[in-house]
Assembly symmetry: C2
Homo-oligomer: 162 residues x 2
């Protein structure tokens, strides 16, 4: 049983109920959605949804077929087999005491993050990149003391053919 | 009837079905979810979900109450009334012809974006910021020619009290 990671991109009509039906389709098959991003596109009537999940090939095929059958779904793309760009963002609030501020700012510099909020006791850091990059930074920030984290989950886009 | 924007942060158990129930709670009341981000936290058993929506105060209160009653939901926070940091990310694929590449790179520089993929005919740009910043950049990129866009939707975090 291969539990390959899948990244699925959906274009759907921007109306109440669509998201619930999509999520229900996954959970009905015991498939956990690892991350999901949904936001409007340039056309306010269309929402783009990116889902990452893990599961074996045959069930994944079934889900793709079912997704294609749902009304209000305009396009389904399983990016996994193609060449694509994938990125996510996180906000990380870390303890910033006089003794560790320099170390935090070194990490911010190395990982090309931004400090987006400062209080006398905490920094809030914005980081973008692959899941691997975010994971690596988080491991290092854990040693400083992470208070809170919010990740967007992945968004993805097929590369143009060269 | 005020249609105020609400940003809601949820901590939920990372199990199939939770997302579908949350989305169903909104659509059942005719509330459209404008954007949603869901991704695991440092604790793999816990997923953090950020939802933005618009609607009048009284229905929003009902939804907050219902969310608090759902099993598998650990914490509900309507950030709207508090001081919070909010950010989103987008990938934007634009046509990059010899005549407009310099202009695109100027915009990338001004908006502090990154070019994350290049083909002979297209650039893919990563941008982070507030919804307003993303909107302003998109308006300008439209003139160059946007082929495709994927937005994460907002993630948000309460500021530390000074």
């Amino acid at each position: 049983m291969t539990q390959e990671k899948h990244t699925i991109s959906l274009m759907v009509e921007n109306i109440p109920g669509v998201l619930s039906r999509i999520a229900g389709l996954f959970s009905g098959r015991g498939f956990n959605i690892e991350s999901i991003c949904a936001a409007p596109t340039m056309d306010r009537l269309v929402t783009r949804i990116t889902i990452t999940t893990r599961g074996d090939e045959s069930i994944m095929e079934q889900i793709n077929k079912q997704l294609n059958k749902l009304v209000n779904i305009i396009k389904v793309q399983d990016l996994t087999e193609t060449d694509f760009v994938e990125r996510e963002m996180a906000l990380v609030k870390v303890k910033a005491e006089p003794g560790n501020r320099a170390e935090i700012l070194r990490l911010v510099d190395i990982f090309r993050c931004k400090v987006v909020d400062v209080s006398p006791t905490h920094y809030t850091i914005e980081v973008t990149g692959t899941a691997e990059k975010l994971g690596a930074l988080l491991e290092l920030l854990k040693m400083v003391g992470v208070k809170e984290i919010a990740r967007t989950g992945s968004i993805a886009m097929a590369r143009e053919k060269k």
